[in-house]
Amino acid sequence: MLRLPRALYLQMVAYCITGLPEEACGVLAGDPVSGTVDRLYPTRNEAASARVYTVDSRDLLQADRDAERNGTQLIGVFHSHTHTDAYPSPTDVDQAPDLSWHYVVVSLRDSHPVVRSYRIGGGLVEEESVVVLGQAAVAVAV
């Protein structure tokens, strides 16, 4: 289960909309046990594409270091699908690096954004629930 504070959920969706027409992406830090996100790091899409994304390598390093400085760790990634469903593409499945990560897809295909989260490993995709929490949280600009 992925638990996202409301402010971070809204920031993530807004960042994806701002990134149109390209795919937007970023990483999530939090508690790997409960799946609760406490920091969101919007990153540049190094691929600058409407079809694929690569989290900018320098943004990724800064996010990883900031998370560690704040006693937390990276536990997942989000990216947008500009014209397709909120389901991992074959490319997402092939390139998922970490069995323990949460892979969040924000679909902007329809008039309302659709947010879904998955665990991906060994070519298998398992959807998990996304819970939006009411409390305040910290938003971080990289």
Binding site: Y53, T54, V55, L60, L61, Q73, H79, P90, P97
Partner: protein, 93 residues
Amino acid sequence: MAAAVDVRLPTVLRSQAGGQSIVTVKASTIGDVLRELVSEFPGMSGQLLNDDGSLHRFVNVYVNDDDVRYLEALETPVREGDEVSLLPAVAGG
């Protein structure tokens, strides 16, 4: 001349290194660093380097704040006190 360099490992590679998050290797270049790691922890081989010895595209390697792909890749020199960081590349479609 080889220098002692600390290498920060990402969570996914720590199990291959007995749970360590930082390991120290003797190396002159990034290529040396990665070959030393593979030699010491063979489980990392397929994740760091390709069969032809080139850098695997799903790993990001940094010297201090810089991605080595924007430097001299595997030929990037390392000096005493440099910190090398490895992170899985995060990409998809």
